[in-house]
Amino acid sequence: MAGFNKVVHSYDEALAGLTDNMTLMVGGFGLCGIPEGLINHMVKLGVTGLTAISNNAGVDDFGLGLLLKQRQISTMIASYVGENATFEQQMLSGELNVVLTPQGTLAEKIRAGGAGIPAFFTATGYGTPIADGKETREIKGRHYVLEESLTADFALVRAWKADTMGNLVFRKTAANFNPMMATAGKITVVEAEEIVQPGELDPNHIHTPGIYVDRVIQASFEKRIEQRTVKAAK
């Protein structure tokens, strides 16, 4: 790597420094927008004791479900885990520590983490089990819960287009958690469908500026669909 060229050419380089017991953020909503190749490579590396921060836990044979099956994840921070039977079984047996977090609070914890804000007050979850043990405060007549922000050793992100300097553009609803996670990793690794030269992306249209990004790898994706819903052609 030289100067601002962040492109790496192997998954070993992309995940160099990732070791046991680290905290990871993994982009995606369901199977949409997940960094497939980076997840697959973590299975190969066999790292264990991971704390994974991701909205969902994949399905049994794809996405984070692959890491769960190999028992590489010890703590999972997520908002919804309904699609994964392995997950449910490991959670009920106590093997897996799960911190269920409201989706908007999870998104904001990550956004705040990347923006250097240590905690924030939100009305979400006040009076529910999520607020147990947390500081609450009444502000202008409403009750709020103090939520601490999140950062990670590695943020694993999937983008549509990246330039070699790490400027990113996401596609449709594959953006989801990826833009915030890109800002909240000590090392942010981006798996992109296409890598272009600086200047080829219109600066007006860049979603994530390259300052947040450390490594970029080009990949092709399976893009598995969870619920294939269609209407009849006219």
Partner: protein, 218 residues
């Protein structure tokens, strides 16, 4: 007769207004989109990062990068926008969504709602439901009035872990349209052919019944 799922959705759709931004939850709320009155423009918000959700795609237009919060493949209408999850919940938490429709296991006379967890049985997570109920002012909860054994789901106090405390003002069940205020359920409308007596019998929380209770009109 109790309302079918479709009728329930149809009645909720009458609460829409032209120019509304609306978030529809999974299940019956999703069906509401099928009954938006002709000539009315409504933009559907999907919390995974889409404002302006369209119908399901045709087979040749399926795009794995375009899904709704239920992980179903969808389309985007003209004038739609895509954004991150943080932006999406800024819209929700910031009170910018005009109407939110979601399901529940239980509601109570204080306007509290339980919808995400049955201890020992079902632990899938709350997804965006806690943020939606905390952030929106105009919420309609769609649910069955009682379980299949006739046990009321409209309670003096929710028994299951809460999704939100004191945040629900309107409930549309298969039997009745109900408002929650001043620590009681208020009966606004009944499903066609459903008696006030049946609604009273299946409502465990305090229920205020006016002299005349109109039937729902479709």
């Amino acid at each position: 007769m109790a309302l079918s799922r479709e009728q329930l959705a149809q009645r909720v759709a009458k609460e829409m207004q032209d120019g509304f931004y609306v978030n529809l939850g999974i299940g019956i709320p999703t069906l509401v989109a099928n009954y938006i009155p002709e000539g009315m423009q409504v933009m559907l918000q999907s919390e995974n990062g889409l404002l302006g959700m369209g119908e399901f795609p045709t087979e040749d237009a399926i795009d794995a990068d375009l899904i709704n919060a239920g992980k179903q493949t969808v389309t985007a209408v003209a004038g739609a926008s895509f954004f991150s999850s943080a932006e999406s919940f800024a819209m929700i938490r910031g009170g910018h969504v005009d109407l939110t429709v979601l399901g529940a296991f239980e509601v109570d006379v204080n306007g509290s709602i339980a919808s995400w967890m049955i201890p020992g049985k079902l632990i899938k997570g709350m997804g965006g439901a806690m943020d939606l109920v905390a952030g929106a002012d105009n919420i309609i909860v769609t649910m069955m009035h009682a379980d299949k054994h006739g046990n009321s789901k409209l309670l003096p106090l929710c028994e299951l872990p809460l999704t939100g405390y004191g945040c629900i003002k309107r409930v549309m069940t298969d039997l009745a349209f109900i408002e929650i205020k001043d620590g009681a359920f208020h009966l606004l409308e009944r499903a066609p052919g459903v008696s006030v007596e049946e609604i009273i019998a299946k409502t465990a929380g305090k229920l205020i019944v006016p002299e005349h209770v109109p039937e729902m009109v479709f």
